[in-house]
């Protein structure tokens, strides 16, 4: 075989291909012609505010909701025709937990595994392994109702893994969890990523996207605003650093006029002013030299939140 052919062979086919994917409810387009590809083993994110069309996209990727336009291929199959075949190879972590609260923890995994046609003996063994993975072994016999929010989320992820999926779809995996629970969850997801599971996740938390995503699209109002790795997006659409200053909500706008021209760009939010610059400390020095004394000041690295603000003029969490 020629070296070129070998190389072509080794380029893996995308596991998800969406082109001009559209979902309309009557006149309203929840998803308005988005196109992207996800490579096997990749960790791909959809970042956007509530109502951006992320969950609708996820339901189409999950072969539950049918598209109204465009093309979609998941694992090489068209979800319109091969829904059960696609779903049998997916793991889905929905935005709101839908565990069976009337069943015990371990039974939730077994019942769900049965949906995939996995024999009882196999699913029982797998349930024990997954409880271990989700750090819930000691809660195997507990009622789901008695679990904390973080535990329920881990159980939902364990349930999504019961069929050893090729792709794991996670819709807002850590929304509503406390910081410690989020970090435990991220750690578990990171392990899956290391094992080569393809992850597709939606989030409106930029830190989550930065932690977990190799590549992401920024979605707003059903369309893709930008695409790239977190670092690329920040490089392209924001400065290296951001200086955040607060002068009190009644003074921010006035001060912003006085300091126009500082940094690369200035954004005025209701509660603070953001000054984008390669060197945040230097900008702070300038500001102080102008005789302005902010109530608080903070220099930080640019994040995806800033990218989103730049692209849409809005913050992610409103």
């Amino acid at each position: 075989m020629s070296p070129l052919l070998t190389r072509l062979d080794s380029v893996p086919a995308p596991v998800i291909t969406a082109s001009s994917l559209t979902k309309k409810y009557e006149e309203f387009a929840a998803v308005d012609g988005i196109s992207f590809e996800v490579a096997p083993g990749e960790s791909f994110g959809l970042l956007g505010p509530n109502g951006a069309g992320k969950s609708t996209t996820m339901r189409m990727l999950g072969a539950v909701s049918t598209r109204t336009g465009g093309d979609l291929s998941i694992l090489g199959l068209d979800p319109d025709r091969y829904g059960p075949e696609i779903r049998s190879q997916l793991g889905v972590v929905p935005q709101t937990d839908n565990l069976d609260q009337e069943l015990r923890v371990r039974d939730n995994l077994i019942v769900y595994g049965r949906y995939f046609g996995i024999p009882r003996s196999v699913v029982a063994k797998r349930a024990d392994e997954l409880l271990e993975f989700a750090q819930l072994t000691d809660r195997a016999k507990a009622k789901v109702d008695d679990l904390s929010g973080g535990m329920k989320r881990r159980l939902t992820i364990a349930r999504a893994l019961v069929n050893e999926p090729k792709i794991l779809l996670l819709d807002e995996p850590t929304t509503g969890l406390d910081p410690q629970a989020r970090h435990i969850l991220w750690d578990r997801l990171f392990r899956l990523k290391e094992q080569g599971t393809t992850l597709v996740l939606t989030t409106h938390y930029m830190d989550e996207a930065e932690q977990l995503c190799d590549r992401l699209v920024v979605v707003d109002k059903g369309t893709i605003m930008a695409e790239g790795s977190p670092a690329e997006l920040i490089r392209l659409h924001s400065s290296r650093e951001v200086l955040e200053v607060r002068f009190g909500s009644d003074r921010n706008a006035v001060v912003a006029e006085q300091i126009a021209g500082l940094g690369d760009r200035i954004e005025v939010l209701p509660d603070r002013i953001l000054i984008y610059s390669a060197d945040g400390e230097a900008e702070l020095g300038q500001l102080l030299r102008l005789g302005l004394e902010p109530i608080t000041s903070l220099v930080r690295r640019s994040s995806l939140e800033d990218v989103f603000l730049r692209l849409t003029g809005r913050t992610l969490i409103e």
């Binding site: 291909t17 339901r59 999950g62 539950v64 909701s65 049918t66 093309d71 291929s73 694992l75 090489g76 199959l77 068209d78 319109d80 025709r81 091969y82 829904g83 059960p84 075949e85 779903r87 049998s88 190879q89 997916l90 889905v92 929905p94 709101t96 839908n98 565990l99 069976d100 609260q101 009337e102 069943l103 039974d107 019942v111 769900y112 049965r114 949906y115 995939f116 046609g117 069929n163």
Partner: protein, 278 residues
């Protein structure tokens, strides 16, 4: 485009079992949930026939002075008359329990249907699975009921045993109609109690359960004709003590129950898909 390329057998083999047995996997889950209140189910399954047959067949029967004709010039005890009706009613009672709150809950408070929909199982299979599990519970309830009827000596003919099947189908016919409705309910505004009070209870009272339908004024008899419970009860009487009715009427009972079952079942699948495949 990718969809023009036929997928390889290995890519589609993963869903062979769910495509075939998905409904049964859902039924397994529903049965597991019933096990949580299994002792209540068992206690009521045995207690109800004991109480009803004793109260009506022994207690009330002592007041029923007029001889009950079996339609062929013979007479039949009130106990034998009322027992097939109670058997069919038992199935309808199970249906009215299992197809109301548990269905509403599985969409809303404990949304397991939505969870199941992410698996290879289809919406239609979810509807089928729920129905299969309830059919099994109704059949078990009717079997126990029939056993108690035998103990009371309420079944003159051995053919009466077929009444277990007709009673179960009667419960199914009522049940799928209820489920098709409850599957559309998104907000609980007491609809389940309304079903119980204004549909199930009148059905129970006006379906020729405690007295022959002909005893009612003609303008109320239509309730019986529309009621699957009346058709099921009449079939049970034919089987249990050979109540005489024209052959065509028995055929109508069977056809009516089957048509309602098929139409109601299909409606359940359609409503389920409309709700879950958005």
């Amino acid at each position: 485009m990718s969809e023009l390329i036929a997928p390889t057998a290995s890519a589609t083999a993963t869903a062979l079992k769910p495509r075939r047995f998905g409904a049964w996997y859902i039924a397994e889950h529903r049965l597991l949930l019933m096990r949580a209140y299994g002792s209540t189910i068992l206690a009521t399954s045995i207690g109800n026939p004991l109480v009803y047959l004793f109260a009506l067949g022994v207690g009330l029967a002592s007041l029923v002075q007029a001889p009950l004709g079996d339609g062929r010039g013979g007479e039949v005890s009130y106990l034998a008359f009322v027992a097939p009706a109670l058997l069919a009613s038992a199935a309808v009672t199970v249906a009215s329990e299992e197809f109301t709150y548990p269905v509403l809950s599985a969409f809303k408070w404990n949304p397991v249907f939505i969870g199941a929909r992410s698996s290879p199982v289809s919406s239609a299979q979810i509807a089928d699975g729920v129905i299969i599990a309830v059919v099994l519970r109704m059949a078990a309830t009717c079997l126990i009921y029939f056993g108690v009827m035998l103990l009371f000596g309420a079944v003159p003919s051995p053919l009466g045993a077929v009444g277990i099947v007709t009673a179960t189908i009667t419960g199914l016919a009522v049940g799928v109609v209820i489920m098709a409705y409850t599957s559309t309910v998104t907000e609980d505004k007491g609809q389940m109690a309304i079903i119980q009070r204004f549909i199930i209870t009148p059905l129970f009272l006006f379906s020729g359960t405690f007295f022959p339908l002909e005893q009612l004024p003609v303008y109320l008899q239509w309730i019986g004709w529309l009621s699957p419970l009346w058709h099921g009860t009449e079939l049970g009487r034919v089987l249990s003590y050979g109540a005489s009715e024209p052959g065509w009427l028995s055929v109508i009972h069977v056809v009516y129950l089957l048509v309602i079952t098929v139409v109601g079942w299909r409606a359940c699948r359609i409503v389920m898909a409309r709700r879950l495949d958005k």
